[in-house]
Symmetry: C2
Subunit: 655 residues, 2 copies
């Protein structure tokens, strides 16, 4: 192997000269508390055993055991790509044990690795559905997910090696990658998989092994797409598969949201290693278009149930949003890579939006139930998910199911939470950059000296972040702090002395000085409640506002409202600022908001759907106070009416 050893974190480029920012490993950053610290603990204590039990119950592991001869032959259980759930859980557990050892989890990883090794063919091919005789190898790439499953296997092998130094799962992954290279490499096949992920996985394996053929394979697979190489079957067309336009010519995100963003992750990965500017330009164009025209306030992307896909520009209706959890996970993957490539805060802002809103809301506070798609409005209480059963992915039950027929989302959440520390900070030759405000310790080499920081904060409950330098060299270096796009009037003191706090054009405020151990920095981001309005072309929330505070999107949920309030018939009084109030939701204290509103009386309207302008019934209402809670806490008290955007009251004279 050549080049520097990758850091123990996802995305560890070898071609480091091109990086605007350098990642830190899970051995360098650790989350020490707060919302995400508690969640990491729950991820290990609750979600990990829950997921492992479901992989056994739903037959995903048994499918592989049968191929390895450990169980008698039989029908394939679950989705034809169920292998990927096993691989993704293995990746998640690997990051978990890298973060903090666990003999129990390590034993489970070793057991599952043995199952994979037994099932793997001599040439490295591994797919329990095809090997079980239910499809023909490489014969149905548009649908088969063979490269997709092997991509997740490779990601698991890389994660396991980075996190633990073990080579058994990495060896399985390498053999799988070798199989892909042997069968597809150097143009031996011109086609690719209907579902991307292999691209980013192969680049990561290149980083872990230094073997150029994996990078070349990733490039080939990216270059193959966009020429109608996949022959659509069933409902979906070439844009669905990102196969209508070559990636370098594509200026926005189209088709299946997860596929589009997994592919984009691979595109940025290839750019990071090869430096091909056209790839970065395409990725930046697609990302920028997505953020401006196809992104929900919660971090949801992909508005359509049909094809789990991106809609047209500004097609962002809250009531029929799909908003797959995996798509937001994938958006974080892309954003992180673009942050490393550019150093621009907008990508860390996007990660923050996703983490504190959709990703947090995707999982019950108990850690054992998940949304596959994430409503942004609910007009009526829906039937609850059936306890302890798995759900079809396309259903939208009132509460979070325990597991899914297509169980892609829960392991995706698990691996994101397990690797979360990696997104907190980076380093470069100037010093350290803090991107996410999460209680953590950060160790990095700066100017040839070890620097250690301790971040303490109640963020996002309040906007003060205290950073203590606990170790540093003598040379001056720069501590960079992200100034979120939502933030106005940030201030900083170092050892109680005020220092300038204006962000530069990358969105960071930079403090350059000779630091000493014991130095204490206090970063204060004022966090008033604010009303947020959408681009005027987002028709679905025209004349409406959402409430945000710091990075937190708020919602109104029925259990918090006074008797007699129908959240389908309220309007905001935007002339009165919401006030903070503490509420306890499912055992968690959160900053809620008391919001002045009008409870509308629509009774004159209720007999009919429309009225002629000028003849419409009087719009009357009574002043009320509503309570808004962080969106991430919703749906933890049964199924209930919920909304994020609410009409702005314009008074009775409104027409």
């Amino acid at each position: 192997m050549t080049g520097p050893r990758p850091v123990q974190a996802p995305v560890s480029p070898l071609a480091i000269d091109r990086l605007a920012l350098h990642p830190l490993g899970l051995d360098q950053v650790g989350i020490t508390g707060g919302w995400f610290g508690e969640w990491q603990q729950r991820n290990r204590d609750v979600t990990a055993p829950h997921a492992l039990a479901w992989l056994e119950r739903d037959g995903s592991v048994a499918n592989l055991r049968r191929i390895g001869g450990e169980e008698p032959a039989g029908p394939h259980q679950g989705m034809w790509f169920s292998d990927s759930d096993v691989h993704k859980v293995l990746e998640a557990l690997s990051w978990e044990v890298g973060r903090l050892p666990s003999p129990e989890l390590e034993r489970r990883i070793a057991d599952l690795t043995a199952v994979l090794r037994a099932a793997q063919q001599p040439d490295g091919y591994l797919n329990s559905f095809v090997q079980g005789g239910f499809d023909t190898r490489w014969d149905n790439l548009v649908m088969s997910h063979e490269l997709y499953c092997m991509g997740h296997l490779i990601q698991a092998g890389v994660a396991n090696h980075r996190a633990t130094g073990r080579t058994d799962l990495l060896d399985v992954a390498r053999r799988a990658a070798d199989c892909v290279v042997n069968d597809f490499g150097e143009g031996r096949r011109k086609d690719t998989d209907g579902h991307p992920v292999i691209e980013t996985a192969l680049v990561e394996l290149y980083r872990e092994t230094g073997q150029d053929e994996y990078l070349e394979m990733a490039e080939q697979l990216i270059n193959a797409r966009g020429y109608g190489v996949l022959k659509p079957k069933g409902h979906f067309d070439s844009p669905y598969y990102q196969d209508a336009t070559p990636v370098r010519e594509q200026t926005t995100v189209v088709g299946h949201a997860v596929r589009a963003l997994y592919l984009l992750s691979g595109v940025v990965d290839v750019y990071l290693e090869t430096g091909e500017q056209a790839l970065l330009d395409a990725a930046l164009a697609q990302w920028t278009a997505m953020a401006a025209t196809k992104l929900y306030l919660t971090g949801a992307v992909g508005s359509r149930f049909e094809g789990e896909s991106f809609g047209d520009e500004y097609e962002l209706p809250p009531d029929l949003v799909y908003g797959e959890t995996c798509a937001t996970v994938a958006s974080i993957m892309v954003a992180w890579r673009l942050l490393l490539a550019t150093g621009e805060s907008r990508f860390a802002d996007a990660i923050e939006r996703a983490l504190f809103n959709l990703i947090s809301a995707s999982t019950a506070v108990t850690g054992d139930a998940f949304f596959y798609n994430n409503p942004a409005q609910r007009r009526a209480a829906h039937p609850a998910a059936i306890p302890d059963s798995r759900q079809q992915r396309a259903e939208a039950p009132g509460t979070r199911p325990a597991w899914f027929e297509c169980a892609c989302c829960p392991p995706n959440i698990m691996r994101t939470v397990a690797q979360l520390a990696a997104y907190v900070a980076t380093h470069d030759e100037t010093g350290i950059q803090v991107h996410q405000f999460i209680p953590a310790t950060v160790h990095a080499w700066v100017a040839k000296h070890q620097v250690k920081l301790k971040l303490a904060t109640d963020y996002p409950a309040d906007g003060t972040v205290r950073i203590q330098v606990t170790d540093t060299g003598d040379a001056p270096w720069t501590l960079s702090l992200r100034v979120p796009a939502w933030c106005r009037g940030a201030s900083v003191t170092v050892n109680q002395e005020v220092v300038p706090a204006d962000p530069d054009d990358h969105g960071y405020l930079r403090i350059h000085r000779v630091w000493a151990a014991g130095d204490t920095l206090s970063y204060d981001m004022p966090m008033p409640f604010r009303f947020t309005v959408a681009h005027p072309a987002v028709d679905a929330v025209h004349g409406m506002a959402a409430i945000e505070r710091g990075p937190v999107v708020y919602c109104f949920e029925a259990p918090d409202q006074a008797a007699g309030i129908d959240l389908n018939r309220v309007e905001l009084r935007s002339d009165e600022a919401p006030t903070a109030v503490t509420r306890t939701i499912a055992g968690h204290d959160v900053v809620a908001a008391t919001v002045a509103a009008i409870a509308r009386d629509d009774s004159d309207w209720d007999r009919h759907g429309w009225a002629t302008l000028g003849e419409e019934p009087r719009r009357a209402g009574r002043p009320v106070n509503l309570v808004a809670i962080p969106y991430r806490m919703w749906a933890n008290r049964g199924s209930a009416v919920m909304r994020i955007f609410t009409p702005i009251w314009r008074g009775d004279s409104d027409d």
Copy 2:
């Protein structure tokens, strides 16, 4: 056979004493021109041969020929319920030849009838998928559509007999119904089909034959539903199948929209024959809730792609509406039955809304291409349907496909157009009621005399309807004219003398007098353009208005606008009334509207999706004139941006 001979029209109740209004047959009402007269001609000249050719191309007829031994055995082609397409085309052609003889179409009907007879089992069972060996008879009712297919067969047999007096197709239908009665009747089976339609079909067969067991069977199948008798498979739950709540307890429409409304048709049919008030009450409650909370302005129902289903109350986003054509056809079926039951104009209003908007828009003006789902907004031009190929139902191409994998909609449109004359007028002991303003001749027996009327009108291009009495007896009788809910200031003259024109509480104006042949009535409904706003709980079009004129919903489509206008960035000037202008679209002259608007300049917003209230970019714009066209004409000039609801401009001070 007992009782009076049913009239030659769909829905000919035997228990006529209960009817508020009595239907007229296709031998009594004939459409003589106008939009629908031309369409009927096209239905016969273009759509009928197009559909017959597709039934051959897509294998629907071949599936049946194989069962009858006319072709060698082989796999089933197309959907497992493809028989229903054959049956529905047979029904449509039967109404067509009843309307006006056609030796060619009669020959095709006879040929297809022979195919069905050859395929039918001795006990009457007929299903090419099951008989082909691809499923087990009655074993999978939740999915199999066996009763659904046989229901459409029965409807075809009834239509053929009513329209032509022939008995060959009716005999096939009777044997099929006898099979259902033998296998399911008197509680021999407790379950029913996942997809209703058999219920209304059996009642119609009862009407045609007088055999009570068909009515009893329909009742039994309606009563079976609502107790979880269907074990859901795949994505869908009991509400999807209308199997969560017994119909008499159901207060709104839920689940798959077509299924819900086909079932409701059967419910009203059973009420009409048995007089069970609880059935009528349930149907009225469901209809009223649907019309107030789940109906689009265009007549679309069923907002969700997922499950082709009704959404929650006021869940009516224009950009992600499903709006299946068949669902609106089914809504006409229900409305017509409720009109006969109650005599209330709101049901005729609903039929008018559906006919002049969604139904008309569902079909290309060329008559050979169809929308399965009907967009109510399009933000970008989409790829066109592939010419001369069939499309998956769930795709939403930019132009209308020629045919579909699931070809339920085109035959449903065909049969609706073919039987349209039946919806024009009714009679009762007081006289004649005119419901739809379509050029037509109407013959009816009133006070024991033949009365003949001639309706002439350019409606909906203008609101004047001229009715000439061409034959009448000496006794006084009442001519009733619907006053549409949108109409203000209607006036009537008889022989140039003004008569009072106030509607009664059923929504009709009544003119009681001794009529004489040659009497001429002129009914004038003023038709200014009007701005229509939705119930305040329809968040998706909050602060927006649509343009209507008479029964016609207008839309803005890109081809009609001046260069540089982006319909995604316009707002209406509701202070200025639109003015009429004639435009020719795909060869049709229509009344278009010139509409004062503001072309918004959103360039300051375009870099980001949201802004904080109080910091948002200035909303500037320039005055422009837009052109609105009837929605029914859209998508006849390629794929283009289209919208119905548009924000109301509130000026630059707007926040």
